[in-house]
Each structure stands twice: as structure tokens, then as C-alpha cells.
């Protein structure tokens, strides 16, 4: 069995000519009746649009309190893959593997250096250095002077996280088909250069979400394999306690990204909703956010600074008429903050596209939004916080 046989088998599944004719006729008929309706109901639609806008303003008033932001923009040509703040300044890498520094006053980015990193993989920032893998080596690069240090060499290396003086990395092992089917996870102590195995080689995949002290929180996929066939899995959110040398599953819920704060793991789950998981008893709580009753509601990004969680949310807005009376489909995105102590929510910024990355030092929130419809030509919004 090869790709050609697969293609030729699938090739035979086609829409019938009769079906095509029927659908075409139905579409034309519906399109024409819509054109007639559009002319007749233009006035009614204008009035409806007014009421929708009025409703939206009233709804927003419930949440928008003490707006504390200033927006500036910067055109990003090749997306943003990872972003972090160092010495009061934003740095980011794009999908062409270039490290930039960003001037929030002028909204301009300055190229700092090209990085020899595995394509489309993120860098990790820790105490003025970035850590990344080229596949065959893991490097430490000083942001200040660009000094480069090779920390480890090997095959199929990938950096999973850096924090608390530890670098977490994986070694991938390819199967006969050329895909990575097994992984081994290591911890490299940055100051002592000691290397130890965290998880021995297996089919299990660990995605480290956050590290605080000796606690690591991870999303893991653990396939149950019988006779070389995957018959199930034990996937979910796991907590790894390094001081105890143990790990335990705290929830079957899978996380796309998340942060530890106040004894909880705040995360975006597989359904793109914001939840918290108690580290103590694994209790899952869905966090209520403005607009979450809207169709297609998704949380795209989160970050936590102190007692405040920041989220980039998105939903499909209703189709509406533009000035020319044409129907336009639209989407809406917002940067929202939540005080984790009081539960107070504030809308910080309405974005014109989806907010995929957030980064803050507590003074400024940087929100990267992609181009619309999705493309890598986006913008960085600078939101000044009180």
C-alpha cells in the first residue's frame, strides 16, 4: 500500500453530475431571492443594526470600566513564534527564525539576529538568555551581547521548557516509517551542567506548560499499546513533583497552554475554553468571560502576571450589512483581564484579528494579533496597564 494506491482509491469518490446540477440550481435560486429581499428590507436592516449596536454598547458597559490602555502598532511580516520581555523591552522571534527587539514608543521592530533553530519551533527565555535547539544541538544565547554557547549535542533534540535553573529537553526517536514515535525527556541543570533523565524512552509525549519551583505541570499523551496497536490512551494534565521524583494525573482534561498561579493551573482546554484545575483535588472550573455565550467562542491565548490573568478571546460575530448594503461576515477578538482575587473582568482592547500571543511585565501588555483572515502579517498592540 502506498500513497498512489490510496489516492487512486479515494479518487473514485466524487460528486455525481446530477448532484452538481441540483446544488448549482439551488444556490442560484437562493442567491436571487436573497438579492430581492435585500432591497426590500434595507430600511429594516438599518434599524436592526442600530438596535444591535445599542445592545452591544450596553453589554460592553457592563465590563468596560476604567480603560487603562494606549494602543500602538507595528507591522509584523512573518508572524510571531515566541515573545518575552527582558530588561523592560519586548523581544520576539518570527517564523523565519529571526530574533527582533521591539520599541514600544515608536512601534518599530529591530532585527537582532538570525537563529539556527529547528523551523517553526519556539525559543525559551530565562534570565537574559534564550534557549533553543537546532535539532542536533541545544544552544544558550545571550540577548545582551549575542554570546553563543553550545550546551548539548545529539540527535532530534527539542527544548521543552526552561525555568528555575533547569532546561527540560526531549530526544525524539524515529520509527521505521520516519515519524517520531518514542521520546526520552531530560533535565539539564544550567549552573552545574548536570544532565539526568526525567522520563525514560517510551511512546509517552509530554508537553510542559509551566514550571514553578520543583513543580512542573504538563499535558501528556500516554498511549496504551497492545501488540503494537494503540488501543487507548491515558492522556490529560499531569503534575510532576521533582523533589519527590513522582508524577500524578490531576485531570483527564487536555490543555493547549496554561500557567500556574495560586495553587491552580489556569489553561485553555482542548475545546479552546478557559478553565482552572485545582492542584489539590483536580477540580475543574470553567472561567466565565465576557462574550462567552457567542457563537464560535474560543480562547486563543493566556498569560498570568501577579494576580491578573490576561486572555485573548475570539468569536464569530453575526453577518451584517456594510454601507453599500452588502452582507459581510465578520469575527471579533478582545484582550481581557481577570483579577484572580476579586474576579473583576475588564476588556482592554478590541482587536481587528485574533490575538495569538500575550506577554506582560505588569506595566505593559503586548498582544500579537495575526492578519485577517489568518495570515502571518500581523500587529503588536501595546496596551499600557495601570
Amino acid at each position: 500500500m502506498n500513497r498512489d494506491i490510496l489516492k487512486s482509491a479515494i479518487d473514485e469518490i466524487k460528486a455525481g453530475e446530477e448532484f452538481k446540477k441540483r446544488v448549482t440550481n439551488l444556490m442560484i435560486e437562493k442567491n436571487n431571492s436573497k438579492a430581492i429581499r435585500k432591497k426590500s428590507f434595507k430600511g429594516l436592516i438599518t434599524a436592526a443594526a442600530f438596535f444591535i449596536m445599542f445592545g452591544a454598547i450596553m453589554f460592553s458597559k457592563k465590563y468596560i470600566t476604567n480603560l487603562q490602555y494606549k494602543i500602538e502598532g507595528s507591522s509584523i511580516k512573518n508572524g510571531i513564534n515566541s515573545m518575552f520581555i527582558y530588561d523592560g523591552r519586548l523581544f520576539y522571534t518570527d517564523y523565519k527564525n529571526v530574533l527582533y527587539n521591539f520599541d514600544s514608543a515608536s512601534g518599530k521592530s529591530k532585527k537582532q539576529s538570525k537563529i539556527d533553530i529547528t523551523n517553526r519551533v519556539q525559543v525559551f527565555h530565562y534570565k537574559g538568555c534564550i534557549y533553543y535547539s537546532s535539532g542536533s544541538a541545544i544552544y544558550e544565547k545571550s540577548i545582551k551581547d549575542g554570546a553563543l554557547r553550545k550546551l548539548l549535542t545529539g540527535e532530534n533534540l527539542g527544548v521543552s521548557a526552561v525555568g528555575e535553573d533547569r532546561l527540560y529537553y526531549s530526544i525524539g526517536y524515529k520509527d521505521k516509517l520516519g515519524g517520531f514515535s518514542e521520546f526520552e525527556y531530560h533535565i539539564y541543570e544550567l549552573s552545574t551542567k548536570k544532565d539526568r533523565v526525567l522520563f525514560k524512552r517510551s511512546h509517552n509525549m509530554w508537553y510542559i506548560m509551566d514550571v514553578k519551583g520543583d513543580v512542573v505541570i504538563a499535558d501528556a499523551y500516554m498511549p496504551i499499546v497492545e501488540n503494537d496497536i494503540v488501543v487507548g490512551d491515558d492522556a490529560g494534565t499531569y503534575i510532576i513533583e521533582l523533589n519527590l521524583g513522582a508524577y500524578k494525573k490531576i485531570s483527564s482534561m487536555r490543555a493547549l497552554q496554561g500557567c500556574l498561579a495560586q495553587g491552580k493551573f489556569y489553561c485553555i482546554n482542548n475545546s479552546a475554553q478557559l478553565c482552572s484545575i485545582s492542584l489539590e483535588d483536580g477540580k475543574i472550573t470553567q472561567i466565565q468571560l465576557p462574550y462567552m455565550d457567542k457563537k464560535g467562542y474560543m480562547v486563543d491565548s493566556i498569560t498570568i502576571q501577579g494576580d491578573t490573568l490576561y486572555a485573548g478571546v475570539h468569536f464569530d460575530s453575526e453577518s451584517k450589512h456594510n454601507k453599500e448594503g452588502q452582507f459581510v461576515y465578520d469575527e471579533e477578538s478582545y484582550a481581557i483581564s481577570i483579577d484572580l482575587k476579586t474576579g473583576k473582568k475588564s476588556i482592554l482592547k478590541k482587536a481587528s484579528s485574533r490575538i495569538y500571543k500575550l506577554c506582560t511585565d505588569g506595566k505593559i501588555l503586548y498582544a500579537y494579533e495575526s492578519g485577517f483572515p489568518y495570515n502571518e502579517k500581523g500587529n503588536i498592540n501595546v496596551i499600557k496597564l495601570k
Partner: protein
Amino acid sequence: MNESLYTEEYIIEIVKKYSDMLVRISFFYMKIRSDAEDVVQDVFLKLIENPRKFESYEHEKAWLIRTTINLCKDRLKLYWFRKRTRLNDDHSYTTPEKSEVISTIMELPLKYRSIVLLFYYEGYSISEISKILHLKESTVGSQLHRARKMLKIKLEEGIVDE
């Protein structure tokens, strides 16, 4: 396509251009030809009901694929659909020799089928599939890997090498 209400030429073209691909995707979910075509008809009508601005051919194609998959999933969840008497899977599209390949893909868990189709048939990269299906790249990669492994075991040989 930047017009809000479509021209007849556009409608004829879009049906011609995409109906085979969408029926293929839908068929791998619905397993029955008439159900697959019903879903695709609804996708096209949805486009007329809520005209959209597509900035590129890729965006237009990705929207149609995603909407088809979503409608298939919605349909499969319906009470009447789940409860009705299931007929055998429909293989009237294909020759008996090839129907074995189709059956094998159909036996894959639902979430793997669209990924296999988009990767092997439509030629999308893992990164593109992750954007279309709103999944992490690593999730698409691992699901593809598992699907390939299952297909290999079921068909006794590997499908492709990368």
C-alpha cells in the same frame, strides 16, 4: 471572491471546483453517499445564506473544508441520526479492490479520518491542517502518526514514509 451576493458564474465555478473534494471529506464521516451529498449541499447553501469575504483561494478552500467537517460532526450527533437503522457502508463509489482501502480508512477513529485525507490526498502540510482544523501542530502530527500506524497494521504495509 469579494462580492457579498454572488454571480451565477461564481456559483457554477465554486460547485465545479470544490464539490468532489467536499463530498470526499463528507463521505469519510457519513459513510453513505446520499448523506455525504446532503451535507455538502448544506455547506454550499450556508455560503449563500451568509456570504463571506474570502481574501484568497486558500482561505475559501479552508473555510469550505472546516464547515463541511463541522456539519458532518453536527449531523452525526443528531439523535435521529444515531438512532436510525444503519445501512451497510456505501461503496458504490468505488471498485471492490479499492473498497478495502476505503473501508480501512473508515474504520479509523473519526478525528483521524479528515487528517489522513487532508494530508495524503489534498496534500496539506501539518501546519496548514492545524490551521484549518484549529488544532495544535503537535496534535495533528501525533494523530497522523497514530492513524498511519493503524492503517499500516490494518493493511499490513506502510502507507508512506513521511
